[in-house]
Symmetry: C2
């Protein structure tokens, strides 16, 4: 009686047009248009227009139909307030492609939060089902929820590579492996022979990918991998220098900032004495709240994650999934930004 009273149903339209509800449905869907007299169809369409009828997505979906609605589930807020906005490029790509494909977007904001995070299954219900399929994004993820989604055979695509022990899941990710390998190759071509990787202990997919790309590149050049896991930049830099490293790959620009500062303290110049490459864009969610980009920001050598394209491709993969529920995985190439923190090594160390 709240919103439902104003809502016109097919049955009401049918009564006004003097036909049965089934006819209204047929007129709407154009199915078996041969079976309906042009006069009847016109009469029904007239009433449809007068009443401003629109389908009830719940009824249609209950029956197994589709709504031309794609869900967008984020574990964090969709519209963040920070200037360095991690999600926006993804969402822009998603919106553009959804518009191109003729889908509306449903943002799942209704659920309560637990531990400050949103959940797909809240109070025993899967809210995603309102949409025909859903795009998931966010750094966090809940393996249990993912597993249940897979079991329900609900069509969804993750933005960013995700693996689930339950079975293959669809995703559109960035090819960190290839990008890291490429970075290693470029440094090698510049003459570097001791190329290190400063990684983090947290073992999520992107980190693992970067490491495997690094290790593959090192193996190709028959060099032992030089992986450092130290969190303190000063100690890390000491370790790196002790190993004779001339070029360092760093996971985050925050860590790179730390290394750079310590290097300056030691009287080292970047890139003359040490080349540094950041493996990816700045991820603001891992950094403290920096609202204003410092004007002296370093022009890091790095690679860019194709966020915009990832969003668009995620929509395309999801739409494909609706027709053919065969899981699909897609990795998009990162573009390498030359930057100002790489150069030829000053000392030719070929231990």
């Amino acid at each position: 009686m709240t919103a439902g009273s104003g809502r016109v149903t097919q049955a009401q339209v049918a009564r006004l047009a003097g036909v049965s509800q089934a006819v209204v449905s047929m007129v709407l869907n154009g199915s078996d248009s041969l079976r309906i007299t042009p006069e009847t169809r016109d009469r029904v369409q007239q009433v449809l227009r007068e009443t401003g009828y629109t389908v009830d997505i719940m009824g249609r979906r209950l029956r197994g139909g589709t709504n031309q609605i794609l869900g967008v589930f984020t574990y964090e807020s969709v519209f963040p307030s920070g200037v360095a906005d991690f999600y926006r490029p993804f969402l822009l790509g998603i919106e553009e492609e959804a518009e191109a494909q003729g889908f509306d977007l449903l943002l799942f904001t209704s659920g309560g939060r637990r531990d400050g995070r949103r959940r797909i299954y809240e109070a025993g219900t899967n809210r995603l089902r309102i949409a025909d399929g859903s795009i998931l994004l966010g750094r966090h993820n809940d393996p249990q929820e993912l597993a249940q989604l897979v079991e329900e055979q609900f069509p969804f695509v993750f933005v960013g590579r995700r693996e689930s022990p339950t079975g293959p899941i669809s995703y559109v990710g960035a090819d960190y492996v290839a990008a890291t390998r490429e970075v290693h190759e470029r440094l090698w071509d510049l003459g570097h022979r001791r190329i290190g990787l400063l990684s983090v202990t947290e073992e999520n997919e992107p980190t693992l990918d970067r490491r495997s790309g690094y290790e593959a590149a090192a193996r190709k050049r028959r060099r032992p991998p030089l992986v450092f896991l130290e969190e303190d930049p000063a100690i890390a830099l000491r370790q790196v220098l002790d190993e004779g490293v001339t070029a360092l790959l760093v996971e985050s620009s925050a860590m790179a900032d730390g290394i750079l500062a310590c290097a300056h303290d030691l009287g080292l110049k970047v890139p003359e004495d040490l080349s540094i490459v950041v493996l990816g864009d700045a991820d603001p969610s891992q950094q403290p709240q920096v609202h204003a980009v410092p004007s002296t920001a370093t022009d890091w050598s790095m690679f860019r994650i194709p966020r915009h394209e990832m969003g668009g491709h995620a929509v395309r993969v999801l739409v494909g999934l609706l027709k053919n529920p065969e899981p699909r995985q897609l990795l998009l190439p990162c573009t390498i930004h030359e930057g100002a923190t790489t150069a030829k090594p000053s000392t030719t160390d070929s231990r």
Copy 2:
């Protein structure tokens, strides 16, 4: 067959537990708990746990008549790429409040465009009706579409004051009248006696509000209104100075930039020789694509539009509208930013 084949229903649970579907529903909802034997309830709950049953939100909402979805319709793209992002604060407020009120958000991106703009009525039907109600935002608007929405008695709230000849419509706007009056008062208190308004010819609601606020303030001080409509900043400044104006209210920061440049050319200092106040935030959609804010940006004296709050209040008004379809109008106060472009007048001109 695509989605949902893996789902467990209440009926299946009931069969496994050897009871009827109604009992399962009762156990789940705890209703009439007195009517169910503890043993039966335990048995059902056991099966519920084993099968991993989750409520299908569709069936539940189908009965309820409401689907807990609020539409968000924008005439332009929701996720713009520019840094100066006009919509984001609104959307952030909308998202937060929707989450608090337990609604999902449906972004209408599917509609085809005409003249590069989205439309509410496509193919004769109102797609907004999919949601329980809808929030509209965007600088453009289509009076005809608005009129039809009113006639359909569809619950909607406009962000920004909008009037329709058809009847009262709900909106949440910023109180430009009061803010402009307040600006005028402050300048008066500083000693200014010739306070001008540089307006634009386009007559939308915000412009009219600013003008009426200005005129009310001038009337209160028994001063003739000094309204300028010249678009060329050089000519406008000449007119302004010819009238002996010592403080100028300007509609947009773009225009203010032009005036400032011309004033400098004439050897005038701001604010010493001329105080300037911008009536509102910078509206990036009226400016050329400026991706990087110039570091020499002027600290304009101006007032800020409470975008975030407007979004949140729009959701609250809309939710209220669902219960009681009585149109509601709400104006939120702007906050005045002192800035660096106002000062006491150098010449005491009291013509």
